[in-house]
């Protein structure tokens, strides 16, 4: 007879360091074209300096780039947008904008790496609307510190920091998005993850789970916004630009892994 033995590994602590978001506010706004431009107004070529850094090697993790493009409409109309990743279209859309209102496109590019070229093209059905603001920040999702379907003990989300803070223009956060969760039931998760595990990492952090199986797909946490693919969310406001989605930063997680099961 073969006896299976397992043991509890040593305490591991992951520290994630996020770069300061990159922001640009043009001194003179650019007039939006009235047809799709050949050259996107917003463009970033990602470098390692743009990405969060992790204090240990990880089994797997996905990175998401939050890219913002914003400006103002003088005459009421419609703004159109297209997101491109490495030259290929990944998402497109439109949004009605009231007269003298600002628009902000909150775009998320999923599964990015250094060297990727991320772009947003903007255009309008009015000749007097403009673009003058862009920003970039990178967060992470689908964190698997160890092999898939690992059992974690004392999984502790120690530090979830304040929102990304943007400073240029006249910024304001749109609302309190749920940005992360912890799928403690392995692959048995729902699309309303904050309720699935009975805990919202963001609003209750620091929070500890005494035992948790990682999900094959999502590991021990995922971003609520920006999953599962490339997408854009347009917000408008009478005075705020950028009017942005306030991602949280999960900065420190610790655990003990059960090995040999």
């Amino acid at each position: 007879m073969r006896h299976l033995t397992s043991r509890v590994g040593s305490l591991k602590r992951l520290v994630v360091t996020y770069p300061t978001p990159t922001e640009t506010l043009l001194g003179t706004p650019l007039t939006l074209p009235t047809s799709e431009p050949a050259t996107a107004q917003v463009g970033y070529t990602l470098t390692t300096n743009d990405l969060p850094s992790f204090s240990m090697s990880l089994y797997s993790v996905k990175l998401l780039a939050a890219v913002i493009g914003a400006g103002q409409f003088i005459t009421a109309g419609t703004v159109y947008w297209r997101m491109k990743k490495n030259g290929s279209s990944v998402a497109t859309g439109s949004q009605a904008v009231s007269a003298n209102n600002y628009y902000t496109l909150n775009a998320t590019f999923f599964g990015i790496v250094a060297g990727d070229v991320l772009e947003i093209a903007l255009w309008s059905n009015q000749a007097d609307s403009n673009y003058d603001y862009k920003a970039l920040s990178v967060l992470y999702s689908r964190l698997n510190p160890h092999a898939k379907r690992s059992l974690y003990l004392d999984l502790f989300f120690e530090k979830v920091d304040t929102n990304f803070t943007l400073s240029l223009g006249n910024p304001s956060a749109t609302d309190t998005w749920v940005a992360t969760y912890n799928p403690i039931n392995g692959n048995n998760y729902s699309t309303t993850p904050a309720y699935e595990c009975g805990a919202n990492v963001l609003t209750k952090a620091p929070i500890k789970f005494y035992g948790a199986f990682s999900s094959d797909l999502y590991g021990i946490m995922r971003s609520y916004f920006g999953e599962p693919g490339n997408a854009g969310s347009m917000k408008t406001h009478a005075s705020y630009r950028p009017y942005y989605v306030p991602y949280k930063k999960v900065e420190r997680i610790s655990w003990r892994r059960v090995v040999g099961i």
């Binding site: 047809s35 799709e36 419609t78 159109y80 947008w81 297209r82 279209s89 990944v90 998402a91 497109t92 859309g93 439109s94 949004q95 009605a96 255009w123 059905n125 599962p228 693919g229 490339n230 997408a231 854009g232 969310s233 347009m234």
Partner: protein, 66 residues
């Protein structure tokens, strides 16, 4: 209200799509089409018939209405 649809065909020209939809649905605020996911999300300021929107957009399936 927001309607999420599965639509396999890409939207090559968002301006043309938007204009056509606004003619039928003046309450449409905007849309987002995710090409990898084949997911079309439309926002309306008033309640509309999701099944009719599916037909009018040439979509395959209504995924979510909220």
């Amino acid at each position: 209200m927001t309607i999420v649809l599965k639509r396999l065909a890409d939207i090559s020209d968002p301006m043309v799509f938007d204009t056509a939809m606004r003619e039928k649905y003046p309450s449409m605020l905007g849309f987002c089409y995710q090409e990898d996911e084949h997911k079309l999300t439309l926002e309306f300021s008033e309640t509309v018939d999701a099944e009719q929107v599916r037909l009018d957009t040439g979509s395959e399936e209504v995924l979510e209405v909220k």
